[in-house]
Each structure stands twice: as C-alpha cells, then as structure tokens.
C-alpha cells in the first residue's frame, strides 16, 4: 500500500509538538494553515518541549478508500498501518516516527493521534478508555460506560472544585506500578478539552442511571470484563490484545472498581472524592 509522506530528506516547514499524557509527538507539515489549525485545536496540549516522536503529515486527497469506511489498523512487518476514509498512515514503534496522508481536516490527525497513543500506552500497561475522568482533591475518578451511560453528564454535574480531564476518552498510564489519569484534548459531547494535568487514579466507576445514587463494589471478573469492554481497541493483533488484557487485569488488581448507580443531578457528587 502506498503512503505518501514528506519528501525524504526535506524537513517540514512547520512542526507542532502535541503532548498528551506526557508523551510529546511533533506533527510536521509543510502547510502553514494546517499548522494554525493544529495549534488552535490542541491549545494547551501544544508543548515547547522537544519531541521524541514525530508524525509527518502530507495533505492530499486520499483515494481508494470508501469515505465511510471504519478505521482499520494492522501490523505489517514492524510497522503499524492504519486507514480510514479520510487518511492513510503508518507508524514505526521502533523509530517513533510515522507518516500520515490525509485531507486537510482535524478529525483525521485526531484519530491517528488516538491510535498512536493507544499503541504506545499498550507497551507500558496503559490504555485509552471510554470514560470521563475528573480530578477532585488531587485524585482522579474515572466514569466508564457506553454512549448514553452518563460520562458527559457526570462531567456536566461536577462541582466547581472538580477539574475535567476528559468527558470522552480517559488516558491511563501505568508509571512504576501506579496508575495516573491524564487530561486529553479528546472531547465528547461537552466539546471541551480537558485540563492538561494528571492525577493518581483513585477509582473506576461503571455508570448506570437509576432513581437513586448508590455505589456498589463489583466482583473482579465483572470489573475486568467491564473495563476491557470500554478500552479503545483499534487493532485486533494477538500480541497487542494480550498486552491490553493483562493491563486490564493489573488495573483491576490495583484500583477499586464499583458500579455507580446515579440519578442525574448534582447530589451524585456527594458520593465522589
């Protein structure tokens, strides 16, 4: 599969370092307008640091892929390949470099960044999770669930002393055996990026709307199964799946997981923190 990229040997004119979860990736482009778009979109996640990783973006019309095609990610040799209707990309974990061929829209690079981050996180026992995450009293609380379960609602209902990390995709890293949640620019219905901060994870709540507010501990198997069902999986590659499975089990060993039945008003936050 051909993937166009910056011409070998020529350096892109513009580079924007986007640092999510403490992992800086320089997105390189020759297009000044696209650079402005990136700086606008990623705001507080644009970093002055030197990046260990890079993605070289070639803006072009991507042909040969169904415009409505779902994201596909697969391993080819030592490189990950990924494509959707609006992009083709490759990522070399060993080099920490990749190339993206995409139309000039922010959604394509956003998806590529999510995929690359999930691949990097999997190597260290972390993951991206369908969950909102918020910080209270220096501790991060994760609220997981399918669409409509209440991820964004929990963020909307949060009192003033609570900081939003994300209402859509929680970024969880395992650093020396301790789990931390990081803010992300990946916004859901709230259409608001999270604060670019991190905090140790104190609890994972599985959301369930109910007439009253209640927290009930769930057994380990339910916790692992529920967690795994909410982890963002882009690639169904056996080694990667096994790593993520083990990461899910290790997370449940370390972090309390409960079902949070909640009535959607602010009183639910009396139970949190």
């Amino acid at each position: 599969m051909a993937v166009s990229a910056q011409h070998p040997g020529t350096k892109a004119d513009h580079g924007v370092v986007i640092e999510i979860g403490g992992l800086p990736i320089e997105v390189q482009t020759n297009d000044a307008g696209f650079e402005r778009l990136l700086r606008n979109r990623y705001g507080n996640y644009v970093s002055p640091r030197t990046a260990r990783y890079s993605l070289s973006v070639d803006l072009t019309e991507v042909g040969g892929i169904d415009a409505d095609a779902d994201t596909e990610v697969w391993l080819e040799g030592d490189e990950w390949r990924m494509q959707r209707g609006d992009f083709r990309a490759r990522w070399s974990p060993a080099a920490g470099q990749g190339q993206v061929s995409q139309s000039a829209n922010p959604y394509a690079i956003d998806s590529v960044l999510r995929i690359v981050h999930t691949l990097m996180l999997a190597d260290e026992g972390g993951f991206l999770l369908h969950a909102s995450s918020l910080v209270r009293n220096g501790k991060a609380f994760l609220f997981a669930g399918v669409s409509g379960a209440g991820k964004t609602t929990m963020a909307r209902l949060a009192p003033a002393d609570v900081a939003l990390l994300t209402d859509e995709a929680s970024y969880v890293r395992n650093l020396d055996g301790h789990y931390y949640a990081f803010g992300t620019p990946f916004a859901g219905e709230l259409a608001q990026p999270g604060r670019n901060i991190s905090a140790p994870v104190a609890a994972l709540y599985l959301l369930h709307k109910a007439p009253e507010n209640r927290i009930e501990k769930v057994d380990a198997a339910t916790a692992v199964a529920s967690l795994l069902r909410n982890i963002l999986f882009f690639a169904h590659q056996p080694q990667l799946v096994r790593r993520v499975f083990e990461a899910g089990c290790a997370f449940v060993d370390a972090i309390p997981v409960s079902q949070l039945s909640f009535f959607p008003d602010q009183r639910v936050w009396d139970l949190i923190g």
């Binding site: 057994d219 380990a220 198997a221 339910t222 692992v224 199964a225 795994l228 069902r229 999986f233 169904h236 590659q237 056996p238 799946v241 096994r242 499975f245 083990e246 089990c249």
Partner: protein, 100 residues
Amino acid sequence: MSDIYISQSAEIAARTLGEETVIMSTADSTVFMLNPVGTAIWTAADGTTPLSQIVEERVCAEFEVSPEEALDDAKAFVEKLAGHGILLISDSPVSGGGSL
C-alpha cells in the same frame, strides 16, 4: 449420540477470577464472562475428556442439575463459544488440547 471433545483455542487471553472467567478473543477483542458452571466446563476443556464426562464430574457433581439438562445446556454453551472461535470442538480426542 457420540461424544464430543472440547479444547481451548490458542487465540484467546483468559483469566479465572474467583469462580468466574473472563475471556478475550485475540481475533476481534470480544469479551466473554463465564459464570461458575461455564468456568467449570472451560477449565476442564483439555481436548481429551469427553464433554459428557466433564458435565458429570464437574457440573452435576458441583451444581444441582440433572445430567440430561446439564448436557443439553453444556452443548449449547460450547457451541456458542465455538461460534466465536474461543473453544474448539472435535468428535475425537485432541492431543495437546488446553493450549492456554
């Protein structure tokens, strides 16, 4: 009816936690959670023990259920798991089964 033999697929990741088991297909990342009866059958799926014997020794001996009902339920259960590629069914013993 002749007996059948079941073995765990190599294309999975699995962990038994308490009396339940979580299984993930490495082919499509689908997650399954087995209850105690399902776990009893799963852990005995060594490719060499007939399903009827597994049901008799691991299900009927541990859970209050008739052998006929248990075997019917077990067959439906293993066929469902086999449909997702996480359990292999054979009409003869399989050497090297239970490849977790």
